[in-house]
Amino acid sequence: MATMTEPPAEAFRLSQLIYDTRYRSLTIQVVAFILIMAGVFWLANNTVQNLQDLGKDFNFGFLGQRAGYDINQRLIEYSNDSTHARAALVGILNTLLVAFLGCILATILGVIAGVLRLSKNWIVSRLMGVYVEGFRNIPTLLWILIVFAIMTEATPQPRDFRGENPEASMILFDTVAITNRGIFIPAPVWGEGATVLILVFLASLAGIFAFRRYARKRQEETGVILPVFWVSLGLFFIPSILFYYILGRPVTLEYPELAGFNFAGGTHLRNSLIALWLALSLYTGAFIAENVRSGILAVSKGQTEAAFALGLRPNRTMNLVILPQALRVIIPPLISQYLNLTKNSSLAIAVGYMDVRSTLGGISINQTGRELEGMLLLGLFYLVTSLIISGLMNVYNQSIKLKER
């Protein structure tokens, strides 16, 4: 009778660590771990040794010291008596400001250029092709410098606005002045009752949101389509304008005016901010245009034809069939473009915009001699920002993922 016998258990041999696939992965990992640890230890040891030789220590105390330098562009209260930490915060806010403005403008430009590049209009699609290829194939830094040079060299001086027959004049009904010292735009002055107005505006935004949800729910339940667009438009403007007059115009505009050698009043947008903002937006917009184009092309033609066969009109086809599928393709690379824009905003150094690299990673380091700590904090800021954004992206990707088997 045949009996099943267990193969004799082999004694463990050392060579199994290398040749037996059961153990080999473990061996590789242990060796890799030891090598990596040795490398890290070597670097850390060198750093400690070098710091000792230079007579430096490793602490972040410099953040509490007086900064002693001025920052011309600031969103929060800051003077040269403030601390280095405050200066870093000003820089961080400036970085986020230009990144935020840039993302908005880049999206608008990108969507327009991407859609127009697919247009059947020969000349428009060629023109958009020139825009996209031109910006994608020339370095950002060059574009920033070019836009900055246009802002400073090709715009009139403030004194050209003076006199009976000025060489230059303000645009948009004498409210905006484009000069070589920056752009001056009207600034809002918040009077009494402005808070109420803002609350009304926020409430109308909430109203729009609620109405859209209601309309969607109703459409899914009964099939009746409500005029979402017009109602949203009405809700957006009418309550705010109504309250604006009821409250007696609480918000007024302060217009820039020529005073002395420069404009005074209004909001002064510096050339550095404008140049960085426009150049980054144009550059990133070209990349977004390609994402939009590929997203739209990724929706197969059969989808459009099927929607037409069901009797949907073109704009409903776009809204209900094409866009939801195209957005799935467009949004992940779009967010990584936002991330790129945020990181590219560190090129502010080229035009002297005071972003976080210029304050924390530039002047603060030079003044305190704390390269290691400063660069570490700077790197950490960018790393955390990008990890947060990519984390959000992952959440989004999960939520729109095709629900398959």
Partner: protein, 438 residues
């Protein structure tokens, strides 16, 4: 029957009418215009708007460019010539700055009589990559490809010829150890030896050996230091070295990130995310300010080399993500198929997975290359003089103070030509490698 027909029908056409021309609006240029430019009101408006934009741009730049002055020694001279020719109000380009300073924009401070060396290095590079880029080039050129890095290095930096030869010898030793060591000490030790022996050789033997060989037969060229390299030559050196080195590194990182081995996986993920999360400019400052902290006391090496290392790491992290996308896009069956054929990990990667994954990721890979090449402009901030650095230097001289557009246009055009041809090549490659039936 026919009688009846002839009586009831008074007229029967026996020949066909000649074909009529289509209506005017449905043929030729008018049809094309109608369909492509004026198919609807919106399109008509867009067309007119675009025509106006094109007219506006051209009317402002075309004359400026075409009437540009090529022969002058300084911007003031340029303006005098302009006043003579076109009057004071005319606005014309002063291309003379390019005629005067083209050498600096292209070569930096490289000695003028040695310009043939970088040009020769570039030619060697192109010949060496041709068998990789195109089929139908003699395969024997791969020998040149293997030696090209050393030839190019020697051509650009000069110095004794023995340096590159002795370093190259290290790779020959590694190959020999790998090949013949397997029979003597077994395959695994041979692999380890192929790494350890050449490293020991480079660290201990290479220096003295070079000195000895140089004293026996002093063959060499004039040495050019890295400080003298600048302009587009610098951009090319950093870009090309970065591209060549970041590609294999990126593949390894991508494989590491896909790997099941916990420690290797986590190391690769950390490396990729940290590098990608921080802008290149911060890494470049790290290279110029901090690298000395991390290395043993007293080490000090070329800024150019440090920048190349940083750029390579930076590009390889991006490359790894692109290739990981390709790896993830492959159907699971390919991996399982490779396993069921009994291939080991490296064989399955080399023969089955990577060829397909790399093919999928070609557009992304080339985009990374283009991005890397464009990013070489950032080295201006750590004190290397790339084209943009030189445009600043030229503007700082009294002769050319205040000249902007001519330099920007030249630099932009050079970058555009390089990057655009790279993206066109990637499209060609995609078409060539497309195997699906369409």
């Amino acid at each position: 029957m026919s009688d009846v027909h002839a009586q009831t029908v008074s007229y029967v056409r026996e020949t066909m009418l000649p074909e009529a021309e289509p209506p005017v609006t449905e043929r030729g240029a008018i049809k094309w215009l109608r369909e492509n430019l004026f198919s609807s009101w919106l399109n008509a408006i867009l067309t007119i708007l675009s025509l106006y934009v094109i007219y506006y741009v051209l009317s402002h730049t075309l004359g400026w460019m075409l009437y540009g002055i090529w022969d002058a020694g300084s911007l003031t001279e340029c303006r005098e010539i302009r006043n003579e020719l076109y009057g004071e109000d005319a606005s014309v380009a002063c291309w003379a700055v390019l005629a005067d300073r083209w050498d600096q924009l292209l070569f930096g401070f490289y000695p003028q009589d040695l310009y043939w060396r970088p040009v020769a290095a570039l030619l060697v590079f192109f010949v060496a990559v041709s068998p990789i880029l195109f089929e139908g080039v003699p395969r024997k050129l791969f020998y040149l490809t293997a030696t090209a890095p050393f030839i190019c290095f020697w051509l650009i930096w000069g110095g004794t010829i023995w340096g590159p030869i002795v370093v190259a010898l290290g790779f020959v030793i590694a190959g020999a150890v790998f090949r013949y060591g397997a029979e003597v000490v077994g395959p695994l030790l041979a692999i380890i030896g192929a790494f350890v022996v050449p490293i020991l050789y480079w660290l201990l033997l290479a220096g003295p050996l070079t000195a000895i060989l140089n004293s026996i037969a002093p063959i060499g060229m004039q040495y050019v230091s890295s400080d003298e390299i600048g302009g587009f030559m610098l951009a090319f050196i950093i870009g090309i070295t970065g591209i060549i080195l970041s590609f294999p590194l990126g593949i390894l990182l991508a494989l590491g990130r896909q790997s099941d081995l916990f420690i290797i996986n986590k190391t690769c993920v950390t490396f990729i995310e940290v590098i990608r999360g921080v802008p290149l400019i911060v890494w470049l400052f790290t290279a110029s300010l901090l690298l000395n902290y991390f290395l043993p006391p007293g080490t000090n090496f070329d800024l150019l080399l440090r920048v190349i290392i940083m750029v390579t790491f930076f590009a390889s992290a991006y490359m790894a993500e692109v290739i990981r996308g390709g790896l993830a896009a492959l159907p699971r069956g390919q991996y399982e198929g490779a396993d069921s054929l009994g291939l080991n990990y490296w064989q399955s990667m080399q023969l089955i997975i990577l060829p397909q994954a790399l093919k999928i990721s070609i557009p992304g890979i080339v985009n990374t290359f283009i991005g890397l090449f464009k990013d070489t402009t950032l080295v201006v901030f750590v004190g290397l003089s790339d084209p943009i650095g030189f445009s600043n230097l030229i503007r700082a001289t009294t002769d050319w103070n205040g000249i902007y557009w001519e330099l920007f246009i030249f630099i932009g055009l050079c970058f555009f030509i390089c990057c655009f041809s790279m993206s066109k090549y990637s499209q060609f490659l995609e078409r060539k490698l497309r195997t699906e039936h369409r």
